[in-house]
Amino acid sequence: MGEITYIDAIREAQHDLLSSDERVFIYGQDVGDFGGAFKATQGLKKLFPDRVLDSPISEDAMIGLAVGAALEGMRPIIEMQFADFSSVGFNQIVNQAATQFYRTGVPSPITVRLPSGGTPGSGPFHSQMMESVYAYYPGLVILTPATVADAYSMLIESVALDDPVLYLEHKFLYRWLKADQLKDGKDPLPIGHARVVRAGKHATVVAYSAMVHEALRAADLLALEGWEIEVVDLRSVKPLDTDTVIASVARTGRLLAVGEAFPWGGVTAEVVSRVTSDGFHLLDAPPQRLNSRDTPVPYHPNLWEAHRPTLESIAAAIRNLLQL
């Protein structure tokens, strides 16, 4: 593993966007000289003083303002300090931004960065995954990069898209996930394409965001037991790449969908429903889901580890699936 972190990729992407496109500006709490709560905008205010702006603590206005700017042809990037606080801007996201193009024919290309997911000790209000509440609403694009290269390229693509994008960056990956290079040499996949990150033949695990890495570890573990597990990284939750998932299930006959989200509804339900509706005959066993528990995300690391899916619980779910 190299030295470029996932958060570096996010910063670099924003730097490159600001450099190459005058329509881009960044707006959010403490994103200016301070460089953001997670340092995703460090140094950018110095380079682009008029296009990196600190906002008041007003998530509703932040999104409304972004939509207004987008109507005028700008490409705003809004940083939420934590994804959890986007709940305050929820109305403007789902009703103002998401419906704009459908109603008026005028695009509202805003990118909302959502620092998402759990880390030890973060508790109920600094750990949430909100992809599924946003994916519910027509008009939004929901991206969930799981690698350093995707963190970079998908943020570039978010801003290029003519539609409002929620870009979920996982806080657990910020400094833990490293790569040698910002771009992995290959052309980035188009928006809405999933990637088979590990080939296998006995079962398919579909995951996204930080759970891709837990799933890969679980696959490593199962490999020691002789099982070849295929892992699909969704990358984009909406649009959702049913074809790649079904193609994988066609190879393996078994499906486990894993998410860090709360268990009711959400990505895993959507994945399982699509596969069973369109690829029923491919399944050799009932498709399974693994999500977090149906409680708020607990603060204490002991509870947190038992709340979200982990290497161990994913491995156990795969073993169970293989026996069905």
Partner: protein, 342 residues
């Protein structure tokens, strides 16, 4: 005989105060005519969904519109802003097509009635959630600042007494003040939010008392008095245009209709209707213009006739146009063509 107030600031460019006053009044006449027609169409069952009109508030609304230039300034019209839309320059067909469900309307039948707009001409299309449009206007202004073309531009947002209670309104006012944007918020206190009277909506003496808390100039005006209202709104718009930052104008009037045309507004007390705030701004304005000789009886009659004809034509045109066809509609929700159906 009342003296009309004159204020050179009120004129846009070279237009005289008298000319602007006439123009504003004419928009009022057109709006009142159009809205009466919409109300009749509703009562005749020709309109699906609600009809929301603004009688009693035309002086306020038209004053906003007449201080702004189409394709240059920005105006977020709200529920009761037919007069402002007309004065600003919205084609009347946008209204009749939206209400009558023509596929040629600005949202092609996807949204209706007051939820129409033309963002590219400076008229964003409102969402229903009250207060939510103010920050959108602020964002449009901020964009122009970043692009370097904010000079001489004003963005106006219309809100009601009820909308002032929303967090969205507050966040937008404060944000605009911090950014010192040329935003003029015209808050029409029409004494009710649906059925809710002001004493269940706020506890301050006047909503203009909110201005100091945002650090912006505040103005209060009798919104039934066209000449006074136009003067005050013109002043606020000029101040914003000249770099004075956000401005808050509170204009008082009475909603002379129901909340929508389904509502008989029987909860409005008789004494309020008979009080000064219950005056019909149309009558006041007519008197003002007639008595100062800015318009003659004959001309007024002519204006009304022309308005009636224009309305008739716009209704007829919309009525003969096709309704949206679900099989012909592309149902596209994404602007980006690279996004496959999900």
């Amino acid at each position: 005989m009342p003296e009309l107030e004159r204020d050179s600031k009120a004129a846009i460019g070279a237009e005289t105060w008298e000319s602007q006053l006439r123009r504003t009044f004419r928009a009022m006449v057109v709006a009142r005519t159009l809205e009466s027609k919409l109300s009749s169409l509703y009562k005749a069952g020709k309109i699906v969904g609600g009809v929301y009109i603004g009688p009693g508030q035309e002086a306020i609304s038209a004053s906003i519109g007449s201080c702004l230039s189409w394709d240059h300034d920005i105006f977020s019209a709200l529920i009761r802003d037919q007069a402002g839309r007309t004065a600003f320059g919205e084609p009347m067909l946008d209204a009749t097509r939206s209400y009558l469900g023509s596929v040629k309307g600005p949202s092609r039948g996807r949204d209706g009635n007051i939820h129409r707009g033309r963002p590219h001409n400076g008229l964003p299309a409102m969402i229903s959630h009250l207060g939510a449009m103010v920050s959108v206007v602020a964002g449009m202004l901020l964009a122009r600042r970043i692009k370097g073309c904010l000079d001489g531009v004003v963005g106006a947002a219309s809100v009601g007494d009820g909308a002032s209670s929303t967090g969205s309104f507050h966040e937008a006012m404060n944000t605009a003040a911090v950014e010192k944007l040329p935003l003029v918020v015209v808050l029409t206190n029409n004494q009710f939010a649906y059925s809710t009277p002001t004493d269940r909506q706020f506890a301050c003496k006047s909503l203009v008392d909110r201005a100091v808390g945002y650090g912006v100039p505040g103005y209060e005006v009798d919104g039934t008095d066209l000449s006074a209202t136009l003067r005050v709104i013109s002043e606020a718009v000029s101040n914003a245009r000249e770099g004075g930052g956000p401005q808050l104008v509170v204009a008082n009037a009475l909603r002379l209709s129901g909340h929508g045309e389904h509502d008989d507004a029987s909860y409005v007390p008789e004494e309020l209707r008979n009080s000064p705030v219950g005056r019909d701004c149309m009558e006041v304005a007519e008197q003002q213009l007639l008595s100062t000789g800015l318009i003659t009886d004959a001309e007024l009659l002519e204006w009304k006739k022309e308005a009636a004809e224009e309305v008739q034509a716009a209704v007829a045109q919309a009525q003969k146009e096709p309704a949206p066809d679900p099989f012909a509609d592309d149902w596209a929700v994404y602007a980006s063509t690279e996004i496959a159906p999900v």
